[in-house]
Symmetry: C3
Subunit: 199 residues, 3 copies
């Protein structure tokens, strides 16, 4: 579990570093954005559910890992910026599922109601990217495009509904991951979008 969590942190940190380098930030900016994308969602969830200090502050391994991945991505930027889009999407989708499920479960453990725990799982998955977009002064991508946040919500919702129905934890987590990953990959593959009003 810890290993999976650290793997998700590393993947999100690399993605953050890529977006920071594309935005022309310096080495510090790259490391800070790597930290934000990797840990911002979890920190937000922990502040909201009252789990303070947040895990990423309490356990130094998370920030050290995020900064180290940011630094590595900066040093090996030629290789990192040449990673194929489909590989990045796959890794990101795995990280999204993991964060959404772990986040929903943690909220539930803190006595948060089922529906709000689904929201907390979603925030864990997408919060880091949202804060990154806010810091880079652009409208968060997840509010505008494809089913990214919806996939995170689906994973969190399947987990919580399955747990309520008495499904054992590991099976529930696998079902939830399947739901999140399937919806995300299907929406990317076929270009699914949520409806939008034109005014």
């Amino acid at each position: 579990m810890l290993l999976a969590d650290l793997a998700g942190t590393a993947v999100f940190a690399i993605e953050g570093a890529v977006s920071a380098m594309r935005a022309g930030l310096d080495l510090l900016g790259v490391m800070v954005i790597a930290f934000i994308v990797a840990l911002g969602g979890g920190v937000t969830r922990d502040l909201l559910i009252g789990a303070t200090p947040p895990n990423a502050i309490r356990d130094w391994r998370y920030p050290v890992l995020a900064f180290a991945m940011g630094l590595l991505a900066f040093v090996f930027h030629t290789q990192v910026l040449n990673l194929s889009e489909s590989l990045l999407t796959l890794l990101d989708t795995a990280g999204l599922a993991l964060f959404a499920i772990a986040g929903a479960q943690k909220a539930l453990n803190f006595g948060i109601s089922p529906f709000v725990s689904m929201l907390m799982g979603t925030i864990t998955g997408v919060g880091g990217g949202v804060i990154r977009d806010i810091v880079l002064a652009r409208i968060p991508m997840v509010l505008q495009a494809d089913l990214y946040a919806s996939s995170a919500f689906s994973g969190a919702a399947v987990l919580i509904i399955a747990r309520r129905l008495g499904v054992p934890p590991v099976t529930a987590a696998l079902l939830a991951a399947a739901a999140c990953i399937a919806l995300r990959l299907a929406s990317v593959t076929w270009g699914w979008q949520l409806p939008r009003i034109t005014v």
Copy 2:
């Protein structure tokens, strides 16, 4: 009291949905911005005064109501986008007064000093709109235009001063609402502005 609070939440959620539809966001974005405008101020206040988890996280009725109003505003967008500006201003002013007063009182109940409680009331009233503007990557309207935040502050200040002078709670709240609403409507009607330096 609870009913008034839920009514204020519903009004702010609809306003949030309107601004999100005007910004071209998809259904998810509309629901998220409805949530932010309705509950962002109260969540910020609760985090700052140490009332964690914030009320909107602890009590699932608030997020469900905000999302439901966002969804309804999206479905009935033709009607909602045609609501008259003056009706929206009236509803918004009522919500602002309510949130500012309830927020100041809650801060006071948590042992926060009178002056800072006035600030917490102001944040409860205007915080959701400020976070919305930040997420939509624009300079918060309340820092630039008319006496919106000043009206919220007036309401919170009148409440706290009246309570200090021994005025009973309900009378204090009515006086405070009158102050907030009068200042807001007067400033809209006569175009009052705060001074500004031209550099």
Copy 3:
């Protein structure tokens, strides 16, 4: 100590007011940005380390001081906007060193690990300016230019390493301030920059 902290708050509030007046905000906006720049870093640190309510909420003297400096800077805007850049840089550097050191020490006192305490010191020093930039819808300056955040981190790191090596508190703080101030002034004087990838 309290006096130094209040002096740092006043300096940062004036800087905030200057940037808000340059951005064309009204009196309220100037006071709010003064508050944010002066107290935003400390509030963020306190929320993250679980010291709630944050000091700036608990102790009314801090917000009153920040608002008063914002108001004074607005009233005496001719004089304030004519302060020389080098004087402002000196004052700002002193405030940065003070906030970074005090913030790192406070995190350590709350049982946060040494490395994360260095981060908390850095956030205390630069957080207010970052939030200001986010509110004004621009990419935070510290992610793009010179060694501002790096200087804050150096100060926090020297403090914590010195304390670990058994250096007495006052000596450690003086060493840390010297490190932060020297790095900041050297980077401004000689135009030092962190490396950056061009993509």
